[in-house]
């Protein structure tokens, strides 16, 4: 049988697979049979015309025997320095202290280089049980140290785990260097699991909420990418960045090809300051205002931001509303005021606000059709000023830029970098005739602050002896135990009515670290561990106020804290529910004239964490923490906390579980 190919050539119809098999068998036979005969030395006789009989077994050749019984030769080793060792040199040039990570095959070469070639120092590998925890640890660490950490994660599934924490860092303007291992070469990567875990472009997963990403294809390219990633993430607005790191590139040796590898020097980029004309116009408005208000969210990008804000506020005797993305302004200062002052303002300056619209407007979730009720909080003639570095770096997909707000003077610039020029301009712009009125304004705020202090304590006294324990009591019981220490609140008190912020005299940048940014639950516990890690080397005492819902997203980070000996006091605000969500279901039930079904729980079905109650003390103990609780009687709280504080002072983590009021 013959067939034609496209060029009409005729050739025998040979099955290629059978052809190759036949060649192989014939070759084997011709190679083995003569050797067998030669080896025996026996005379071979057989009938004329008949094939000689084949032996049922043949003796191995000298070469085969040597291969089977001798010591195998050492395999040829790769020549030259390892590519991942060079990567470690690049990483070390940036003085990165720690590398929280969950191990994975796609970065095995770099992992090996970090711990063996790099000596597991700068960065030190921190073993994490979840990639989300690793990124959140880096998030919290930065808020104390002001330096970014890097994390390594598996290219697809690991990065998928990490995404929510990266989104939180994006919304919270925090730099994290995310390196994802990825085996790009389909012809050489291992089949099966490593191929499931490879992708053409892993960075696509996080491109919407990272500031920059790259996929280096050579070692020199890696050096440039890594230093560039660090530099971009550390230029305001700070943001996470991503590098896809090819597994093959990590494992290859350094080939000089006639040129030497080099590590680019890191030189920080100056933060963008506001245009001077816009600064002068803002100063003119503020200096001539009768009721100026300063609203801040992430204005104090560094500790230096706090005294600058104090100077501006005192110059104008303008109240400061701290929305709490960072510790911006001393809460003890007479100009630290609640958001209600916004309604009285004739000029408002918003510094690094995440949501200007909601600062000057209200949205009340009480409309019949779910649209809510919108109300302006301000007079229509109120002048608005904004300085915000995020205006320089807006992306389209995720809606963290919030609703559009018309602003009279808007500077796409870093607020902290702009404050010195603004302060100078305000000094020049204040009319002499206004100085007495400004002083009088300050006196009124001093009086208001004193009155507010009394009201706060009166409110704290409510339900003082209640069980479950009031969140005010919880904060009040902790304070005397830490007040004489250099303390740092590393977890957010937002879910407990801000009682720590209201009762503890917060003045330094590490007294309050803000929240997750993107409100992704599961941030608080790992971020607190990261912040406590940064506090450890500074000898500070870390206190983490911890909600139960957040804890259960990835509690494994407690093991990381114990394993790496991170001292931190975690006090559970255990209200046994997702209280943020309770009223959503209740609200819709009311709107539809239906009684919310509780099932066997305390809140609408799906919003409680009860039946069974989670024993957080046992959970913590199982991971190497000192722990106590659940504490339900408020009289037992103080003595238990005292014991826990002593444990933390000895360098260990401790947890006290407290059954609390909802908020």
């Amino acid at each position: 049988m013959t067939r034609k190919n496209s060029r009409n050539e005729v050739r025998p119809d040979v099955d290629r697979r059978k052809f190759l098999t036949g060649v192989a068998i014939a070759g084997a036979a011709s190679a083995v049979a003569p050797s067998a005969e030669a080896a025996t030395g026996d005379a071979v006789t057989h009938p004329v015309g008949a094939e000689p009989p084949r032996p049922s077994a043949v003796r191995p050749s000298a070469m085969v025997a040597a291969a089977e019984t001798g010591t195998p030769k050492e395999l040829a080793k790769a020549q030259g320095p390892h590519g991942s060792d060079f990567m470690v040199d690049v990483i070390k040039s940036l003085d990165i202290e720690y590398l929280p990570s969950n191990p994975a095959s796609s970065f095995r070469a770099l992992h090996e280089s970090l711990i063996n070639y790099g000596g597991n120092k700068k960065p030190e590998f921190l073993t994490c049980t979840h990639e989300e925890s690793a990124v959140a640890m880096a998030h919290g660490y930065f808020k104390i140290a002001g330096k970014p950490l890097m994390t390594l994660c598996h290219g697809t599934v690991g990065l998928q785990h990490a995404t929510m924490a990266i989104y939180n860092a994006w919304c919270d303007r925090v730099p994290v260097i995310v390196v994802g291992g990825n085996d790009l070469d389909a012809a050489h990567r291992p089949p099966g699991v490593p191929t499931f875990h490879s992708a053409q472009d892993i960075n696509a997963l996080v491109r919407d909420f990272t500031k920059w990403d790259d996929t280096p294809v050579s070692l020199q390219h890696f050096a440039q990418s890594f230093v560039r990633a660090y530099k971009i993430s550390m230029t305001p607005p700070y943001e996470p960045v991503a590098i896809s790191l090819d597994a093959g590139l990590q494992e290859q040796t350094v080939h000089n090809n006639g040129e030497s590898l080099y590590i680019p020097r890191y030189v920080p980029t100056s933060p963008p300051a506001g245009d001077l004309n816009a600064v002068r116009e803002a100063a003119r408005l503020l200096a001539n205002a009768e009721r100026p208000v300063i609203v801040v969210d992430r204005a104090a990008r560094t500790p230096k931001g706090i005294p600058l804000l104090v100077e501006l506020a005192e110059l104008l005797q303008a109240p400061v509303v701290d929305q709490g993305g960072r510790m911006n302004f001393p809460k003890t200062h007479h100009l630290s005021r609640p958001a209600s002052v916004i309604g009285q303002a004739d000029v408002i300056i918003g510094l690094e606000l995440s949501d200007y619209w909601a600062t000057v407007n209200a949205w009340i979730d009480n409309g019949e059709h779910g649209h809510g009720i919108q109300e302006a909080r301000i007079n229509p003639n109120t002048k608005l000023i904004s300085i915000n570095s995020v205006d320089l770096n807006t992306k389209a997909n995720y809606q963290d830029f919030q609703r559009f707000q018309v602003v009279d003077v808007q500077m796409a610039a870093d607020a902290e970098a702009t404050l010195p020029a603004l302060i100078d301009s305000v000094k020049s712009a204040i009319p002499t005739s206004a100085k007495a009125a400004i002083e009088k304004r300050g006196e009124a705020y001093r009086k208001a602050k004193q009155e507010a202090r009394v009201r706060t304590r009166e409110a704290a006294a409510l339900a003082w002896d209640a069980s479950p324990i009031s969140t005010a009591r919880l904060a009040a019981e902790i304070w005397p135990l830490i007040k004489d220490l250099d303390w740092s609140m590393v977890g957010s008190d937002r879910q407990m009515s801000n009682w720590a912020s209201r009762l503890w005299p917060m003045e330094k940048h590490y007294h309050h670290l803000g929240g997750p940014g993107g409100y992704g639950v599961g941030y608080n516990l790992p971020a607190a561990m990261g912040a406590a890690l940064a506090n450890r080397s500074l000898g500070r005492f870390s206190v983490n106020l911890q909600t139960d819902g957040d804890m259960m997203y990835a509690p494994g980070v407690m093991w990381t804290a114990a394993h790496h000996q991170i001292p931190v006091l975690t006090v559970m605000h255990n209200n046994r529910g997702y209280h943020q969500e309770v009223m959503h279901v209740q609200r819709l039930s009311n709107r539809r004239d239906r009684v919310a079904s509780l099932g066997k729980d305390m809140g609408p079905i799906g919003t409680s964490i009860t039946n069974p109650d989670i024993d957080y003390a046992k959970l913590a103990a199982s991971m190497g923490w000192w722990s106590a609780g659940p504490i339900k009687d408020p009289s037992e709280l103080g003595p238990t906390l005292k014991r826990a504080v002593e444990v933390v002072k000895s360098g260990q983590p401790a947890l006290v579980d407290v059954w609390t009021q909802p908020r």
Binding site: I364, D365, N366, I373, V454, R457, E458, A459, A460, A461, L462, A463, W464, A466, P468, S470, T471, R473, A476, E477, W479, P480, K483, R494, Q495, S497, N498, L503, G577, H579, V582, M583, Q586, R587, S589, N590, R591, D593, R594, V595, A596, L598, M602, G603, P604, Q661, P662, R663
Partner: protein, 120 residues
Amino acid sequence: MRINVVRAGLASVVAAGFMFGSGAAFAASAEKGKALFMKNGCWQCHGTQGQGSVATSGGKTLAPDPLPLETFISFVRTTNRAMPPYREAILSNEDLTDIHAYLSSIPKPADYKTIQLLNE
């Protein structure tokens, strides 16, 4: 627990005899009111003792000294603020009266000046 029983008794006396449109007298029960306060999720925003929260009730408290009963019921029915309105179909006047009795039974807190921890 003993204190709660005493409070409940006092509140029942205070609220007893409230008249509804039907003309029937209704004896309010603080004990029932407490159960309704929990069952209907009031405590989730207002705390088990009506102490309120800056996060969920704008810092407003329900107790001690709750609003007068009629004002209280009117607010619950018609609120257009953060709290959703509760119509009679899901929370009756009788239930609200019991809840009001419970709130009325909650005693005033101690003066904060007498609490050492609030004067540190």
